[in-house]
């Protein structure tokens, strides 16, 4: 190599090359090591996998075979008992803390209609004679124990089969979504269209039979009565209000969003007149409508009507002791199905309304479990021995006789 002298000397080159080679080898070894490890791990996994597969195929997977003998179930019963009894007690406590006031106003006396003899007429007779007649009535009630904060006003109906098959079906969710205002589902029949073919808004029997009494609360004070501020919103499920119910596009009036529609047969006002004050609570988005459209599970039900506005002076901490009266614009007929109308004022716990049964049931079941636990303890002591005896016999067991 003649030309090599000018550059790096040959032996250095050789060494360099050797170093490179060694490095390569090291790299190679490392790589091999890693790949071997990986391979081994993979192999292991595959083996494990196939082992599982094999065990699965042969039905030899490790199994836990509990035998429900007295001794094994004992702890379960005691555990359930010990859990349920305190839970029940707690529930009972919470349920007791809920305050509730119910007022049946079905037989409410009208203040603006009188009989011939001057006695006040029953509002239900008034509207029976003339459904269009506005009948206002009042019912006094006294709050003996102040309600804690967040008092809700419900109306309750009895014997109203909102869960009847044909009733439940008689609605059109698409219409309530505000999608289409010219056609509705056949389910709404015969409350789908009027005789001229115009679509009811909203259609169907549910909407048609919407509760339309107006309830107002007044506090009787020496200075006269003051109306309690009731909040119309926040009574429906947020998900319903946000998604399930939407108004058709356009201004909420007869020529706008609902230009093709007419008001339902039994309604006195149009759907866009439900709450003229608050456009967000009007039309299909009206929370009263939304609440009504959620069919109740049982023929006796209550529905949230209003929230008491605790920003009012004097109601900051709830509903204080005092005398109140309920003023009703009595429109809703319940006679035909033998129903009753109630006004309910209630606070809530985390369980909802007043519900003593739950706590009692929990305590009862807990007690039963404890009792069963004790019984099984006896069984275990009496019968469990036999099995143990059998097991203890081995070659070393001496013969007893």
């Amino acid at each position: 190599m003649p030309g090599a002298e000018g550059e790096t000397p040959l032996h250095v080159k050789v060494i360099e090359r050797k170093v490179i080679l060694l490095e390569n080898q090291i790299q190679d070894l490392k790589y091999r090591l890693i790949s071997n490890e990986r391979k081994a791990a993979e192999e292991k996994r595959r083996k494990l996998d196939s082992k599982f597969k094999q065990k699965f195929k042969q039905q030899r997977l490790p199994a836990w075979q509990p035998i429900l003998t007295a001794d094994t179930v004992l702890p379960a019963f005691f555990l359930i008992g010990l859990l349920f009894v305190p839970l029940g007690a707690a529930l009972l406590f919470f349920s007791r803390s809920v305050q509730e006031l119910q007022l049946d106003y079905t037989e409410c006396l009208s203040i603006n209609h009188t009989l011939a003899n001057g006695d006040a007429r029953l509002c239900r007779d008034v509207i029976k004679d003339n459904p269009a007649e506005l009948c206002i009535c009042r019912e006094n009630f006294t709050v003996h124990e102040s309600f804690e904060k967040n008092v809700y006003l419900y109306y309750g109906l009895d014997n109203f089969y909102q869960n009847h098959r044909r009733y439940v079906k008689s609605r059109d969710d698409k219409q309530l979504l505000g999608r289409d205002d010219t056609t509705v589902s056949n389910d709404c029949n015969p409350f789908a269209t009027d005789s001229e073919g115009r679509v009811y808004a909203p259609c169907g029997a549910i909407a048609n039979s919407m509760f339309n009494d107006t309830l107002r609360l007044f506090e009787v004070q020496e200075s006269g009565s003051t109306e309690l501020n009731l909040l119309k919103t926040g009574i429906a499920w947020p998900s319903d209000r946000k998604i399930k119910f939407n108004n058709p596009p356009g201004p909420l009036n007869a020529s706008g969003a609902f230009k093709n529609n007419v008001k339902p047969l039994y309604w006195t006002k149009n759907v866009y007149d439900l709450d003229p004050d608050d456009p967000n609570n009007n039309g299909y988005k009206n929370e009263d409508l939304i609440v009504w459209m959620r069919s109740a599970a049982f023929p006796t039900f209550r529905k949230l009507y209003r929230r008491i506005d605790h920003n009012m002076t004097g109601f900051k901490f709830g509903l204080h002791i005092g005398t109140y009266y309920l003023e009703v614009e009595y429109r809703y007929p319940v006679d035909s199905f033998g129903g009753k109308k109630r006004m309910i004022l209630s606070t809530t716990s985390f369980l909802g309304g007043k519900n003593n049964f739950l706590g009692i049931a929990y305590i009862t079941v807990g007690c039963i479990c404890l009792l069963l636990g004790i019984i099984f303890l006896i069984i275990h002591i009496k019968f469990g021995k036999r099995a143990v005896d059998q097991l203890n016999i081995n070659q070393n067991t001496p013969y007893s006789d």
Binding site: Q59, F160, Y167, L351, I379
Partner: protein, 1521 residues
């Protein structure tokens, strides 16, 4: 070739050149014969001519080679001899002569009264009979074929297809014409092609095509009643007044079920498709006109008219007519086990009479064939080939090779395809799987009907409620309308409005609504679920490694998919003996000659993996005696055979009898000798491989002679050959029956030259021979007939060393291992060396094997000759004059041969001892009598060892006697009426006055684990019956050795010879048992044990042995009796007129085991049927052979042993196992599990659906019975399908109430399934009651919690659904016996499904299904504490009772299984094993004191068998103490 050989004028074909004693074969014939290296061991010929219709006779006469003609003339001496080994059925019958097989059934067995009952079956059999006489011959145990079964099924299917699918099934009764494709000019369009109309060979067994799948599958599914019911519900939903749900939603469950089933069907169909395409793409060789040779082609491309070439062991791709075979007579053999399960070989022959020289050339084959339309009849084929001369060559089924059969014992064949693809008989007979309905399923169907009743009641209640509710408004409301309810329809008039609100009308309408709503109570998913569960159960049974038999590599095969739970409920097991309990691997073990007993020690083949048969060591004494016979022969006149009479041992001497004995073993049978594996010169792609043809193929020997390599090798091997030749010609080997492998054979000076042979020779054979004892015998060394032929030719006086240079090549090929091995064939295996015997029955094989080991080697068998190598004689060719085949009436077979030297006609006879002993020569001297007596003693001792015994006898016929008989026999054969009977008479005329030669005992070893298995089955409370055709003594012994009978068992024997006797005996036994039971009861009451007696009734031969009372009580009341019935008695019992069945079954019911000996296949199935019908028990039949098929099919569960006897039993069975011992795990573990799982799951399903529906019913109280449901319709529909179906399915597949070890260790646990303890009539109601309770708890607790609240309907529904899901999950958790990952996963999955579905459905779908929207319901519910508190409370309370009851039962009085588990668990915890280690005793034959019994044993052979019991023979008076 035969033309040349005919010059010799001997009328013998080349193949007959071995006839040493006849000599006289021309050299030319030798050359000619050389071409047929592989001479067929069966030849035909003469028979054909005399048999076939005259027209054929002419045709053949003109064309057949002279040699064959001559032979046929020679055959004429024998007249109608047909040594047709296997399958020559039709031939024989059509000709109206020959040995028509007397059916092994029934003539005397079948009671006349039975006939009506089995009429159809009988007719089928008769039909089969009239078509074929293919009943296997010899000692075959196969009795009937199943063609009729296939045929019936197929007919049904086509009928169905015709009606249902309007598919035009071609009703083609005309003949069709087939021409060879190579004569048709190429590029003829399909529609003008003469064969164009016929389908190609691709097959399609799939049910569906891609397009037809949906409609066809739906159509089939709606054949099911359940699906129709659901369809009705769906349709009901479309009635506007009635509809309860959205129309689309209501279809969901049905669609789901249909979909699952469709997926299953599609999956199965795909498997079929894959197997189809595998078959379709297999290759075969088809003659190509363009290339002028055979080319490789796929099966599916084969067309009608193609000419194919097939080699040995190839599967036949289409139905072919054989045109040419490697055999010089055009014979070939097929094995049709794929088709009909028969493993024996069937003979077929090529079409004769087409060409003048009969040399087949593909190119010249330009005939037109007229053949019949395709039919399902496997053994029926007609057709003809018109010749130019105007004659017609008929085609029969003997020319037809069927698709899916295997070519055997033939080098190659060439044939023309006549039916292809779906028109082949194999495809036309392709039947589907069988459908059986299990006991559990029947029970379930009853419950489903109850569900319908419940449904009806519920609907009625609800409808009434609905009407009443409506009525309330009718009365109270003003206009009779419910104010807030819209009228159901758009009503125009008030009248209609009023009607629509009329209470009765409303009630009526709502009835139908409720039918829809409550439909779930009839579990729609149950059927599909159970199907899935069973499928998976079967899969896991299939996967079980324990069912794999290492030896054969076979594993379990589950053919019936829908009765796994039946395995857990078996009450009676009926088992065949031979091949099922035993190996069906016969080993020669004992023989008695001259009244001397020679015993052999069996060498059991321990190597599980090898295929070798068990063998035995030779008896030294017998060897010495044989040597003493032959030594004088060899030394007296070495090499000289001119004076044959002097060679014979003295007449009637012991040594002659020894010779005769072995000769009978070797000759008197139907064994076929296949010499070596077959080779074909053509390779797979149709090319002729020259190298191979040089080796051993017969194609081009002359060509190879010019091959230099060959010649050089030939010359180089001249030396050894010469040595060999000299050796063979002029000396006899000293001791062909060399001693046992360990002792060195005696050498004589003559033997020494052998060691001069090249070492390759010796080394080669040392390595490869199976038995060392035959190593040094030159004949066995060569063993190819080529070599024998060489020897013969060499020993011809006028054979010059110049001539047969070719022979040397042959020799070289044989002796030079390098040369012999070609690339294709593996190194010579032992099979290359010893002749391959092919026999129908293993006992024949064992006998021939035994004779072979003693030097009596059957080397070749043809129709008229037997070539046998005899020690001391060398090769002898005997002329076979007659074969009187075996039938089960005579129980014997005979062969009449003509002794080559003395020309004596001798009848050799082999048969059952009873048959032979009855026909012995009466007038004999005392010495002979003593000999017979000794032999009888030996026979008894043999049978006591459980051996199958056979007797050999001989009779020398005088010429006149023989001639007389021949004449009469011929008459009998030719008689048209009553031929069977006449033949029988004819047989009995000649088979008399026999001289006893000796007897043999063949051991049929028990399979491994048989006693343990039977013991386990009996411990499980299963009654085991063994049904066998064996004789009583043998059967009883086997019964003892396989633990069917235990020593302290009473054996009740029923051997009646008249009906009255049978009745008396049965009544006697019944009385006896009654008394015994009374006595025992009394004794138990008195606390004293009382002896018991028995009485021997007059007439009936019976032994009533009472066992000690103490013994008995330990075993329980019915444990200690065993019943033995023989076939003759069964005739009377099964005769309907005798009314004996009932008492017999009562008697049998008192016995824990029964043994039927001498039973025919029909009797077997009759017994099974009577047990099934009269005792109302669940029966299982196990068998391995064709004779068990009817039994297997009759039983509720048929199990086939996939053993050595072909697949017919397997084909008929529901489960096929490899060994009998697998039955134990199959029943005790898998059966138990399957029953346990399924019954629990079915009950769970009823509960599940009922509880869900009842919740809906409860809700009706709150909604005016309007039919509304608080659960959303989607949830309602998917709840059962998605949320709660996975855990039960998984439990149904994987749950185990006890581990396999425990179940195997304690067979008594099987009682749970046997008595159906889990699924009793009341269990359904218990579960329904539980459902009622649970639904009440679930509903009303929630209702109380939600009443008078602002809870929405669906919100409430969500709570109830969730609670219901939890309750049902807890319920299944309680029902789950063992928790595995899978089951936990299943439970978790069902919850994931619930929440997942909820999220999907209630979060995304606002108004999508046209139903009240569920938006946000789930989220709201899950956020509500009340929801959670409610579901926890209600679900806990709902399952509490079940949990408590379960726990109480488990701890107070646990059932057997729980107890076993507790024990097992305890033992594991305490770390010692409870003694469930199973006895691992060897399955050696049990011999109850059978050492050496002599004396009066012969007359009363079995009286002392039950040795451990005390035989008390008392009078009735004494017994009544």
């Amino acid at each position: 070739m035969n033309g040349k050989s005919g010059g010799g004028g001997y009328g013998d074909d080349g193949a007959y050149a071995y006839a040493h004693s006849h000599g006289g074969i021309g050299g030319a014939s030798g050359v000619g014969g050389e071409r047929r290296v592989h001479a067929r061991s069966i030849s035909h010929g003469g028979i054909m001519i005399s048999r076939e219709p005259p027209m054929l006779d002419q045709g053949m006469g003109g064309t057949l080679p002279q040699g064959v003609g001559g032979m046929s003339g020679g055959g004429g001496v024998g007249g109608g001899r047909g040594h047709q080994r296997t399958f020559s059925h039709g031939q024989l019958v059509e000709g109206g002569r020959g040995h028509k097989r007397v059916m092994s059934k029934t003539d005397f067995i079948l009671p006349a009264g039975y006939e009506e009952r089995e009429k159809e079956r009988e007719q089928q059999q008769k039909k089969t009979l009239s078509r074929t006489t293919s009943f296997p011959k010899g000692h075959s145990r196969q009795a009937s074929r199943s063609e009729s079964i296939y045929t019936i099924r197929q007919n049904k299917r086509t009928l169905l297809q015709k009606i249902l699918f309007w598919k035009k099934v071609p009703e083609e009764n005309r003949t069709r014409v087939v021409v060879a494709n190579h004569v048709v000019p190429p590029h003829v369009p399909r529609n003008e092609h003469p064969n164009g109309a016929y389908p190609d060979n691709s097959i399609c067994t799939t049910k569906y095509t891609f397009l037809s799948f949906l409609p066809k599958n739906l159509f089939e599914q709606f054949h099911r009643f359940a699906n129709l019911y659901f369809l009705f519900i769906v349709l009901l939903n479309f009635v506007p007044a009635v509809n309860a749900f959205g129309k689309e939603v209501a279809m969901l469950p049905l669609v789901f079920v249909l979909g699952i089933t469709a997926i299953k069907d599609a999956f199965e169909d795909r498997r079929r498709y894959l197997s189809d395409s595998r078959v379709n793409n297999a290759t075969c060789r088809v003659y190509s006109r363009d290339e002028g040779r055979y080319v490789k082609k796929k099966w599916k491309d084969v067309r009608v008219g193609d000419i194919m070439h097939l080699s040995c062991n190839e599967i036949i791709p289409a139905d072919l007519v054989v045109l040419n075979s490697s055999d010089e007579y055009g014979i070939c053999f097929i094995e049709s086990s794929n088709l009909d399960g028969e493993s024996n070989l069937k003979q077929r022959q090529s079409v004769k009479g087409l060409a003048v020289d009969d040399k087949f050339e593909v190119k010249k084959f330009d005939y037109m064939m007229e053949i019949g339309a395709p039919s399902t009849k496997i053994y029926h084929f007609t057709g003809s080939i018109p010749l130019q001369s105007g004659e017609r060559v008929p085609l029969t089924k003997d020319n037809l090779l069927l698709r899916d059969c295997t070519l055997r014992n033939t080098d190659y064949i060439e044939g023309i395809v006549v039916y292809a693809g779906r028109e082949t008989k194999a495809m036309l007979n392709n039947g589907g799987t069988r459908y059986k309905r299990s006991k559990l399923e029947k029970r379930m169907n009853v419950e489903v009907i109850w569900c319908v009743v419940i449904l009806f009641i519920m609907c009625l209640i609800s409808a009434t409620g609905s009407g009443l509710w409506q009525n309330y408004y009718e009365v109270n409301a003003t206009i009779g309308l419910v104010p807030f309810i819209p009228p159901s329809n758009e009503v125009k008039s008030l009248r209609a409005l009023q009607l629509s609100n009329n209470s009765i009308w409303v009630g009526f309408i709502s009835f139908w609504t409720f039918v829809i709503i409550y439909q779930v109570i009839i579990p729609i998913s149950l059927y599909v679920t159970i199907e899935v569960i069973k499928l998976m159960q079967i899969y896991h049974i299939h996967c079980d490694k324990d069912f794999k038999d290492k030896k054969s590599g076979k594993t379990i095969e589950c053919r019936a998919l829908n009765i796994p739970e039946e395995l857990g409920q078996v009450e009676y097991v009926f088992t065949d003996k031979t091949g099922t309990l035993t190996e069906n691997n016969m080993v020669f073990q004992c023989c008695s000659i001259n009244g001397t007993d020679y015993t052999h020690t069996p060498v059991i083949n321990k190597n599980q993996n090898s295929d070798e048969r068990d063998t035995f060591t030779l008896n030294n004494q017998l060897q010495e005696e044989l040597a003493s016979i032959e030594l004088p022969l060899i030394y007296a006149q070495p090499g000289s055979r001119q004076n044959p009479t002097t060679l014979c041992p003295p007449k009637d001497s012991p040594s002659e009898r020894i010779m005769d004995f072995f000769f009978t073993l070797a000759a008197c049978n139907t064994v076929v000798v296949a010499k070596y594996p077959h080779r074909d010169a053509m390779n797979a792609s149709g090319m002729i491989v020259p190298n191979e043809s040089a080796n051993s193929s017969s194609i081009n020997v002359v060509d190879t002679s010019s091959n230099t390599t060959t010649t050089s090798i030939g010359s180089s091997s001249w030396g050894p050959n010469r040595v060999l030749r000299g050796f063979l010609s002029f000396s006899r080997p000293l001791s062909p029956i060399a001693s046992s492998p360990h002792s060195t054979p005696p050498h004589t000076p003559e033997a020494l030259p052998r060691y001069a042979a090249p070492t390759t020779l010796t080394a080669n054979y040392d390595q490869s021979s199976t038995s060392v004892s035959i190593t040094l015998n030159p004949i066995s060394q060569s063993n190819g007939l080529e070599n024998v032929r060489i020897c013969d030719l060499e020993s011809q006086p006028n054979s010059s060393p110049l001539r047969p240079s070719l022979l040397n090549i042959q020799a070289a090929q044989i002796y030079n291992p390098n040369f012999t091995r070609d690339s294709r064939s593996p190194t010579p295996s032992p099979m290359d060396i010893t002749p391959i015997y092919e026999a129908e029955s293993p006992d024949e094989l064992a006998l021939v094997d035994a004779a072979y080991k003693y030097g009596f080697r059957l080397l070749r068998r043809t129709l008229h000759n037997i070539l046998i190598s005899l020690p001391g004689y060398g090769l002898c060719e005997y002329e076979v004059l007659h074969v009187l085949p075996f039938d089960s009436n005579r129980k014997m077979m005979s062969i009449i041969v003509c002794h080559p030297d003395t020309q004596e006609k001798i009848l050799y006879c082999k048969g059952a001892d009873s048959a032979i002993l009855d026909r012995l020569n009466r007038g004999v001297d005392d010495k002979t009598k003593f000999r017979i007596f000794r032999t009888q003693q030996h026979l008894n001792s043999f049978s006591k060892k459980g051996l199958r015994v056979l007797c050999m006898a001989k009779r020398v016929l005088t010429d006149t006697e023989y001639k007389d008989w021949t004449m009469k026999h011929k008459e009998a054969e030719n008689s048209l009426s009553n031929r069977d009977h006449k033949l029988q008479e004819s047989y009995s005329r000649i088979e008399k006055n026999l001289n006893l030669i000796g007897a043999t005992g063949i051991e049929d070893r028990l399979q491994d684990g048989v006693p343990e298995t039977i013991q386990a089955l009996r411990n499980a409370g299963i009654v085991v019956w063994v049904l066998t055709g064996d004789k009583q003594e043998t059967a009883i012994n086997i019964a003892y050795s396989c633990a069917l009978f235990v020593p302290n068992m009473e054996i009740l024997k029923l051997n009646a010879r008249t009906k009255d006797q049978a009745e008396r005996t049965i009544q006697f036994y019944l009385r006896q048992i009654e008394q015994e039971e009374e006595v025992r009861q009394r004794a138990q009451m008195q606390g004293t044990a009382q002896g018991n007696g028995a009485e021997a009734s007059n007439g009936a031969r019976m032994e009533f042995s009472a066992v000690n009372d103490n013994n008995r009580r330990q075993n329980g009341p019915s444990e200690q009796r065993g019943l033995v019935v023989d076939g003759r008695t069964l005739v009377y019992i099964l005769d309907r007129r005798a009314n004996l069945k009932k008492p017999f079954l009562t008697l049998a019911g008192k016995c824990s085991a029964a043994l039927c000996c001498r039973a025919t296949p029909l009797q077997k199935s009759l017994i099974v049927r009577s047990a099934k019908d009269d005792l109302k028990v669940l029966t299982l039949a196990v068998g391995d052979g064709a004779n068990d098929v009817s039994m297997i099919q009759t039983a509720d569960v048929g199990v086939g042993i996939s053993g050595v006897e072909g697949r017919q039993a397997v084909m008929a069975s529901d489960y096929a196992i490899a060994r009998f011992r697998h039955l134990e795990k199959l029943l005790l573990v898998h059966g138990h599990w399957c029953y346990d799982r399924l019954s629990r799951i079915i009950l769970y399903f009823f509960y599940k659906n009922a509880s869900f529906v009842l919740i809906l019913l409860c809700y009706q109280l709150y909604n005016g019975f309007s039919g509304s449901s608080m659960i959303d319709q989607m949830y309602l529909m998917v709840f059962n399908l998605l949320f709660t179906s996975i855990p039960p399915i998984l439990v149904g597949i994987y749950d185990k109430d006890a581990p396999a070890e425990v179940l195997l260790a304690q067979p008594r646990l099987y009682v749970q399934g046997r008595e159906g303890r889990l699924y009793k009539p009341h269990s359904f109601w218990v579960n329904i009651l539980d459902a009622v309770y649970q639904s009440i708890v679930l509903f009303f607790f929630s209702a109380v919690l939600h009443e008078d609240s602002n809870t929405g309907m669906y919100q409430f529904g969500m709570t109830v659904t969730h609670a219901c899901l939890i309750a049902q999950s807890l319920h299944i958790a309680i029902e789950t016996k063992s928790w595995t990952v899978i089951l936990v996963f299943g439970l978790v999955l069902s919850f994931i499904m619930f929440y997942g579905f909820g999220v999907l459905y209630t979060m995304t779908c606002v108004a999508c299904l046209g139903e009240p929207s569920q938006y946000g319901e789930l989220a709201y519910a899950l956020r509500s504490p009340l929801h959670w508190l409610t579901i926890i409370l209600t679900a806990t309370l709902a399952v509490l009772p079940r949990f408590v009851v379960r726990a109480v039962i488990c701890s107070m009085s646990p059932d057997d299984i729980t107890q076993a588990l507790i024990d097992n668990k305890g033992s594991q915890q305490k770390d010692f094993m409870v003694s469930w280690s199973r006895s691992t005793s060897d399955s050696s034959v049990y011999r109850p004191n059978c050492t050496e019994e002599t004396g009066d044993e012969a007359s009363e052979p079995f009286s002392s068998l039950v040795t451990t019991t005390t035989v008390i023979t008392t009078t009735t008076d004494e017994a009544e103490v």
